[in-house]
């Protein structure tokens, strides 16, 4: 059984991330973002999801120990919303309050074919959003994978490591290919 933990940054949908993983038969738990990396290592996890959180939470400071996880992890990491924004900042990109925040239903456009996280996802699909902030400058070593009308960096990935950031929320029921994206992430963690 693959083991993927959800780091809780205080998001309204942290529990949904846990539930989606559990429904895919993943061995999963929600752990606070103050957990030391050593503790996670002891649990032999295969992957990590960094949850979202309240507005502005990822724009300054260290978002608990998320920086330590990004620095030391040898397993795949999926950052969602605040987790994604923090990931961008950590690698030298920028995250700022959105000019046009997005809430609810939005059309997502994929920019790259054949990325393993988006396998089986249509070029255009409906995703659900809930963000006040966004990544405005892509960090070095990352590439952009998806955009929406008002947010250019809806998805990004590290070019070498299996590290993804998503601005939209694949964990909620109303996102068209949400479960598919999680399935793909689980596959990446199994390898």
């Amino acid at each position: 059984m693959v083991r993927i933990y959800v780091i809780d940054n205080g998001g309204q949908w942290t529990h949904r991330e846990w539930r989606t993983l559990r429904d895919l038969d993943v061995d999963t738990r929600i752990v606070p973002n103050t957990t030391a990396f050593k503790e996670l290592q002891k649990e032999n996890i295969d992957g990590l999801v960094l949850s979202g959180g309240a507005p502005r939470i990822a724009l300054e400071g260290s978002l608990g120990n998320c920086g330590e996880y990004l620095e030391k992890a040898r397993f795949p990491i999926l950052g969602i919303c605040a987790g994604h924004q923090f990931m961008a900042r950590f690698y030298g990109g920028k995250a700022k309050p959105s000019k046009i925040p997005e809430f609810g239903k939005i059309e997502l456009t994929l920019l790259k074919k054949n990325d393993p996280l988006f396998e089986g996802v249509s070029k255009k699909s409906i995703v659900w959003e809930s963000h006040n902030d966004e990544v405005t400058v892509l960090p070095k070593g990352f590439e952009r994978l998806a955009e929406s009308e008002n947010c250019k960096i809806q998805a990004m990935r590290h070019k070498k490591k299996i590290m993804y950031g998503l601005q939209f929320h694949p964990e909620v029921e109303h996102t068209d290919y949400g479960e598919q994206i999680f399935k793909n992430f689980v596959k990446l963690c199994e390898k």
Partner: protein
């Protein structure tokens, strides 16, 4: 995947261990509290007392229906008529968070009274995942204080038992179906009841208006679903907006309140899409509400907000 049968087995076994003395369940007659009551009842039998409180903010005929249900389920029960107490406590209160907190505290004080009389030590609640997630605490922002979590007073004598805490509504419904409970498909109704479907002060007079309007919305939508005109919404109701607009009633100027029709589709209440109610159904609802509530209500609006940015209820 969530295994409801295993959940029932494990939970009943755990409740047998954890609940060693008399317990009381806050029983509303909704899916969550009914499932909780049946599980605890399986574990400790008539050591469990179901308490239903008529807050005055219940839907039409609800107190009678809930009493009937508690009898049918073979529960040891108490019914508390606290209409006046609640109306009094909410007098002059307009802020939605204050309303929720006052109601949450009132509930607990009533339960404590019963507990003292019956020498009860445990309070069982049908809390489910979205209740404590939205109530905030720690890192999480408070979206709204669910009366059974964020609305709880700081000092409480009873020990809390929440067997459904990690489940979502669709999972609770699965458990309810296995337990053959009639309420398994019932639409959610918030604990604070109609008090949070009245924007502004929840006076007894305003409550009557929204009670009638909710009843019309429920009946007409259920009727439309039966006829195959629309999909059954997750939740459907009316909200009273005490903003007056001008109308005309038989050559006479009218100046009455506004009612909003709200219906949403969801699986777990964490995200919702507004329901597409056919225009003919909206039309019937609109005419019925205004004809029934006459000079009190002369305008009907239809809420087309998803969650996010909105929430299901308006407060």
């Amino acid at each position: 995947m969530f295994d409801a049968e295993r959940f029932i087995e494990k939970t009943v076994a755990k409740l047998k261990e954890d609940v060693t003395k008399k317990a009381l369940i806050a029983f509303s007659g909704g899916v969550d509290s009914t499932v909780s009551a049946v599980l605890v009842n399986r574990a400790i039998g008539n050591q469990l007392i179901a308490v239903n409180v008529d807050t005055g903010y219940m839907r039409k005929n609800e107190p009678e229906n809930v009493k009937k249900m508690m009898k049918e389920l073979g529960l040891n029960f108490r019914f508390v008529d606290a209409n006046k107490e609640f109306y009094h406590a909410l007098k002059g209160v307009e802020d939605p968070e204050k309303k929720r907190k006052i109601i949450g505290e009132k509930f607990i004080r009533i339960f404590e009274r019963v507990a003292e009389e019956e020498q009860i030590e445990y309070l069982v609640q049908g809390t489910i995942a979205p209740d404590w997630i939205e109530s905030g605490g720690g890192l999480r922002d408070t979206i709204k204080s669910h009366h059974n979590v964020g609305g709880l007073p700081k000092t409480m004598k009873l020990k809390l038992v929440e067997p459904l805490k990690d489940l979502y509504k669709d999972e609770v419904r699965k458990v309810a179906r296995i337990l053959h409970l009639k309420v398994s498909e019932r639409q959610p109704f918030p604990g604070p009841g109609l008090a949070i479907r009245i924007i502004g002060e929840a006076t007894p007079e305003r409550t009557e208006l929204v009670r009638e309007a909710c009843d019309i919305v429920e009946k007409e939508i259920e009727h439309a679903v039966e006829k195959g005109l629309m999909e059954k919404p997750w939740q459907y109701f009316a909200v009273l907006i005490p903003i007056k607009t001008v109308g005309v009633h038989g050559d006479k100027r009218a100046y009455g309140n506004t009612i909003a029709i709200r219906a949403v589709q969801s699986v777990d209440a964490m995200t919702c899409h507004y329901s597409t109610i056919p225009h003919e159904v909206l039309d019937t609802i609109s005419t019925k509400i205004t004809n029934t509530l006459k000079e009190k209500v002369n305008r009907i609006v239809y809420d087309v907000t998803n969650k996010p940015p909105g929430t299901v209820e308006w407060e």
